[in-house]
């Protein structure tokens, strides 16, 4: 029994949903969003922690900043950036008319 809906969904004999030019423009915008995210990820995941020792000189509510960034700051950045990413990618999908029906 065929159980996966994706195969049935394909329209127009499985042809592309959009023309090539739109497809390329969509992908280049999606890729640049990916690279933006990757750079933020590199900075939050690695970059700022190279300076942990110096940042530790700054104290907020008792937290040395270098410690705080690794224990909470970077994590908050990761969570927020993922919700933002989902929203941003959705609007790119809609801009090019490739969102799911």
């Amino acid at each position: 029994m065929p159980l996966v809906e994706d195969v049935k969904e394909s329209r127009g004999g499985g042809g592309p949903a959009i023309d090539k030019a739109t497809g390329d423009a969509y992908w280049s915008k999606t890729s640049s969003l990916m690279w933006t995210m990757l750079v933020i990820w590199l900075v939050a995941g690695f970059g700022i922690h190279f300076f942990a020792s110096s940042l530790n000189a700054i104290k907020i509510l008792g937290f040395p900043l270098g410690f705080y960034m690794a224990a909470q700051g970077s994590l908050i950045i990761f969570v927020v950036m993922l919700f933002w990413f989902a929203k941003r990618q959705n609007s790119i999908d809609e801009e090019f008319g490739v969102e799911e029906e």
């Binding site: 159980l3 994706d6 195969v7 592309p16 995210m37 995941g45 922690h49 990761f78 993922l82 969102e99």
Partner: protein, 597 residues
């Protein structure tokens, strides 16, 4: 069963009432804890309370597993692709957080201070890679298993087989550690021998996953997440209220950090205690960042995590779901350092420097079980820093007693640890059994097998894998926590480049991907086995828990070079890649490839 109209309507009701169902469930659980607290006040012995916690929660998971039983292939493998983003996020959270996160993480932070944060960063940041590089595209492809994608993208069973081998090695190492953790908790709170406890835990795991596959595991994992997060947050919230007057440990432990540093530098008995906040005291920067790197890439390669995103209704939901997953994981991970800080403050204030004859009660309780060791080395009757050894696992488990809370909270923590271990073991066993039944049996051995036969095969294999894993766990293999870290490096070296380049670089060829998987996997295993068992010297001083630091670049490089040396993929293959990159429209499989069914 689920094929009848009545059952379908019931399942529709369930999905549209998820908030109500799990709201009632959470309320019911809170009521259950209160009843047990009352029973304790009335003098019911601790042993009974422990039993009630363990058996009632496992009973609830089993009931959910039974109610979610299914005879449909798509329900069994991907929960019918009907799981809303938020609930899939919760399920992923408990799938992800294992006994190591729940029990071990805070203790590691206690012992290592800043350097332990490599685990906190590594085990969260990987979700960024999952969201931007893989999850939406794998969801669009509509696979049942991760090797399914490799098989379709790299046209054939060779790539699929390589994928299955890496998946098996990584997931099996990991599942053994989970069953081991289940055994430890069950034996401690039920008072039975470890070897028996392992098989009790196994029974709990199997009832959740065998009848209903992914559907049952999903709804059980949501239930397990709720218990594990309550159990993790409650003790430290109460402890923070007691110590600082404010029940928000995540904000208040800054004060604890300050006091720890003051005590460390002024209190004589604390001589030799390493700083809690100074970076790179245990790991040098190379090992610190190398470990973060391997854990992050490993997160984005572990099949039991990736396959959770096959269950969402759409690509859009898959992206949203990764964000929710990380949010639910974050709730536990940003609390773990607070546990470590408050426990350390208590130890520095009330334990070290005190007369050994009058230590707090909790120290005596936990030294009886062997997780705390006190030895008066210099014979002065006063406890020095070096004379006090605490096992990493004791921090979370002992917090209720440190805070002077009733036993019911300790039982709650045990139930939470059990939920964490069981939920991860469920997901891992399912990933292994699905790879064997779907990829090996159905795709490679008997492509004509009908749905019933495939599901029977999946269930039999699940039981066999579970029993073998329990047997390995019962032999207590050494260095089990290191084995978890190895699983990340193995998965990262073997799978990550083939998956990511398969989506993001059209020029990746079958030969390139296969060569890359073989190279990454071999380099990683060579370094691991060489340094662990053959006495091979470390390369650049990199510890073998970060062996992916060599495996991952090797895999990328080999995939790239071999792909360029072989003819570009066909136009049909490039068209297939375009179709999985675009959310709208069908997936255009390469001619000759069979559609999924």
């Amino acid at each position: 069963m689920s094929d009848t109209p009545a059952a379908k309507a019931a399942s529709g009701d369930f999905l549209s009432n998820l908030g109500k169902v799990y709201g009632l469930y959470t309320g019911g659980f809170a009521g259950f804890v209160l009843v047990l607290a009352l029973l304790e006040q009335m003098g019911v012995p601790n042993q009974i309370i422990g039993y009630l916690f363990v058996f009632l929660t496992i009973g609830v998971y089993a009931l959910i597993g039974y109610l979610s039983r299914t005879a449909q292939v798509s329900e069994y493998y991907v929960a019918g692709r009907k799981v809303p983003a938020l609930y899939n996020g919760m399920a992923t959270g408990s799938d992800w957080m294992s006994a190591a996160s729940f029990i071990g993480m805070a203790g590691t932070l206690y012992l290592l201070g800043y350097d332990g944060l490599a685990f906190v960063l590594g085990w969260t940041g990987g979700y960024v890679l999952v969201a931007i590089l893989l999850a939406p595209y794998l969801r669009k492809f509509g696979a049942y298993t991760v090797p399914d994608f490799l098989g379709a993208r790299y046209g054939g069973n060779l790539a699929r087989l390589c994928g299955v081998i890496v998946l098996m090695s990584a997931s099996f190492t990991y599942v053994v550690a989970q069953i081991f953790g289940t055994g430890i908790i069950a034996s401690r709170f039920l008072g039975i021998s470890f070897e028996v406890a392992v098989f009790v835990g196994l029974a709990g795991i199997l009832v959740c996953s065998m009848l209903g596959g992914m559907r049952a595991v999903t709804w059980t994992q949501v239930a397990q997440y709720i218990i594990l997060i309550i159990a993790y947050l409650l003790p430290v919230v109460l402890l923070s209220a007691k110590v600082t007057g404010v029940p928000v440990p995540q904000l208040m432990y800054g004060q604890a950090l300050e006091q720890i540093e003051i005590l460390r530098t002024t209190k004589e008995a604390l001589a030799g205690a390493p700083s809690h906040i100074t970076p790179f005291t245990t790991y040098d920067p190379l090992n610190f960042f190398g470990l973060i790197f391997c854990l992050m890439i490993g997160t984005a390669s572990l099949p039991h995590i990736l396959m959770r995103y096959f269950t969402t209704p759409s690509v859009r939901d898959a992206r949203q779901s990764v964000a929710w997953s990380l949010f639910f994981i974050f709730l536990l991970y940003f609390t773990a350092p607070a546990y470590a800080a408050f426990a350390k403050l208590e130890v520095f204030t009330n334990v070290i420097g005190s007369p050994i004859a009058s230590l707090p009660d909790w120290v005596r309780i936990w030294s009886n079980i062997g997780l705390v060791r006190v030895t008066d080395m210099n014979g002065d009757g006063i406890l020095q820093f070096r004379e006090f050894v605490i096992n990493a696992d004791a921090i979370v488990l002992a917090t209720p007693e440190i805070a002077g809370l009733p036993y019911v909270i300790a039982g709650l923590v045990a139930a939470g640890g059990l939920a964490a271990a069981l939920s991860t073991a469920d997901g891992l066993l399912l990933a292994i059994a699905n790879a064997l039944s779907h990829d090996i049996y159905y795709r490679m051995i008997d492509p004509n097998a009908n749905a019933k036969r495939r599901l029977t095969m999946a269930r039999i294999l699940l039981v066999i894998v579970a029993i073998v894993a329990a047997w390995v766990a019962s032999t207590r293999p050494a260095g089990i926590l290191a084995m978890v870290a190895w699983a990340f490096s193995i998965a990262a070296s073997g799978l990550f480049p083939a998956l990511v380049m398969g989506v993001w670089w059209k020029r990746t060829t079958t030969a390139g991907a296969v060569a890359g998987m073989v190279a990454g996997y071999s380099v990683c295993l060579f370094y691991l086995i060489g340094t662990q068992y053959m006495g091979m010297p470390l390369w650049f001083g990199v510890r073998n828990i970060s062996c992916g630091l060599f495996g991952i670049p090797a895999a990328f490089l080999v995939t790239y070079v071999v792909s360029l040396m072989t003819p570009a993929p066909s136009a049909a293959m490039q068209d297939f890649i375009d179709s999985i990159r675009t959310p709208r429209g069908g997936v255009r499989l390469v001619a000759g490839e069979k559609a999924l069914d």
